[in-house]
Symmetry: C2
DNA sequence: TGTACATCAGTGAACGCGCGTTCACTGATGTAC
DNA sequence: TGTACATCAGTGAACGCGCGTTCACTGATGTAC
């Protein structure tokens, strides 16, 4: 128990307290939504007076930010570890694994998903700490394309439509920053594919498929296979 | 002024009052979001006591429902009238017109867009009155595909991937209900395209493109052209 | 055309709640000598 | 190893707000004869 260089008991208890607060807040989220997340309700549930929470989070927005970062990280982690389970050469399998990991996580944590991919919480402004975690998902898709390009199995689409100059310049900048080695046209298709994944999950979660599709898993799998065809995976 | 068979002055004033309430509520929406839409605040702005609103809407949820229906109708109307301005044979032009109409409307009414395509309002359950208006947008896309099929210019994709049986059955049912004359594989591509439109708009509106793309109109136009290629328009 | 009655809009008070944040404080835990 | 002081967690009261909904009511507008 005491093999670590003595992390003070106080700071360990503090870390546990922060976790408890976030866990309870996540449960609240599911009941009332982000816009109505209440510090007092969290404190009540935790059996503590509401002002006590200010020892851990400077404000309600700070707590929200922590939940948002955690959600991006959890979704990214789900995608990454689904990807990691497969052979690097199985491009289509990896793509489908990521798609289903995203959908499964979203179905298991609908309110956290809404927090990051739904309408923004009114009055809340995201600080820059969220951008790193927010990228993990799409970067996993990028790694598939990069492996495919490196193996000569995936390449710039040949169907001819090149981005106009202004768009091409922006795509190049994004490529150089985050997706080295991927031709810009292919990267544009990758971004569209990622939007398709999240768009389809959002449609399902936000009720657009009500009374339309019943077997949503099968429909999703089919659509993601069509996207894979398109990407050449 | 009095050529109609005497719509009573009272009912005309009543209709105007309902419009005023909705207009003020839409403005509120933009400030505090749907979850915090407050009847009392609307009443205050209208210069009326809060209980007076109950003559017009039975509850806060009823007011929300009215706003949701209006939003679907406004978006559908924008798409339909953009489509109607073009020659029926201009399939690609019609598609792009609809895409841009959707995006333009969403940018002009971000909170109403969030109301219909963002995270659901917690505790709110949509009644069935919303399903008709909700379909107008995607039906406009359907009419392009139908015209293309009728003219022999658009057809079932030949790239081979057919939906599995369970999905095919659901697609067939949806097709027979709402998209007569369109082969199911093509319809599936159409649904994916529609998801791509709204997914891209949502990404832009909900902040996923922050620090990524600056010229969003150009990027959107490019991506929608890629989708048009895919659909064979 | 005039009167009697019914309908409806809006009032104001009340019920029973909720919230985020600040502040001075007590008492327990950790640290330095 | 023991003591003195500093740090920190949590309390409880308060400030100044907000909300949806109900109800008995007044007074104006509309309708039927």
């Amino acid at each position: 128990m005491t093999e670590r260089p003595a992390v003070s008991i106080r700071s360990r208890v503090r870390a546990e307290m922060i976790e408890s607060i976030k866990t309870i807040a996540r449960a609240q989220l599911a009941e009332v939504g982000a816009a109505n997340l209440s510090l007092r309700a969290v404190a009540r549930e935790l059996g503590v007076v509401s002002s006590a929470l200010y020892r851990y989070f400077a404000s309600r927005d700070d707590l929200l930010t922590a939940l948002i970062i955690d959600a991006y990280d959890a979704l990214g982690e789900a995608a990454e570890s689904a990807d990691a389970r497969l052979d690097r050469a199985e491009l289509r399998g990896r793509w489908l694994a990521i798609c289903h990991a995203v959908r499964d996580w979203a179905l298991a944590h609908p309110h956290e998903y809404a927090l990051i991919y739904g309408s923004p919480v009114p009055g809340y402004r995201a600080p820059t700490d969220t951008v790193g975690p927010a990228q993990r998902g799409v970067l996993a898709l990028g790694s598939i394309l990069r492996d495919g390009v490196a193996a000569g199995r995936v390449s710039e689409p040949t169907d001819g439509r090149r981005p106009p100059a202004a768009v091409g310049a922006e795509l190049t900048r994004v490529r150089d920053l985050a997706f080295p080695g991927i031709p810009v046209g292919l990267m544009a298709r990758g971004i569209a594919a990622w939007i398709q994944v999240l768009g389809t999950v959002s449609f399902e979660l936000f009720g657009q498929f009500n009374n339309v599709f019943a077997d949503r898993a099968a429909h999703f799998d089919y659509q993601m296979n069509v996207v894979a065809d398109r990407l050449g995976l």
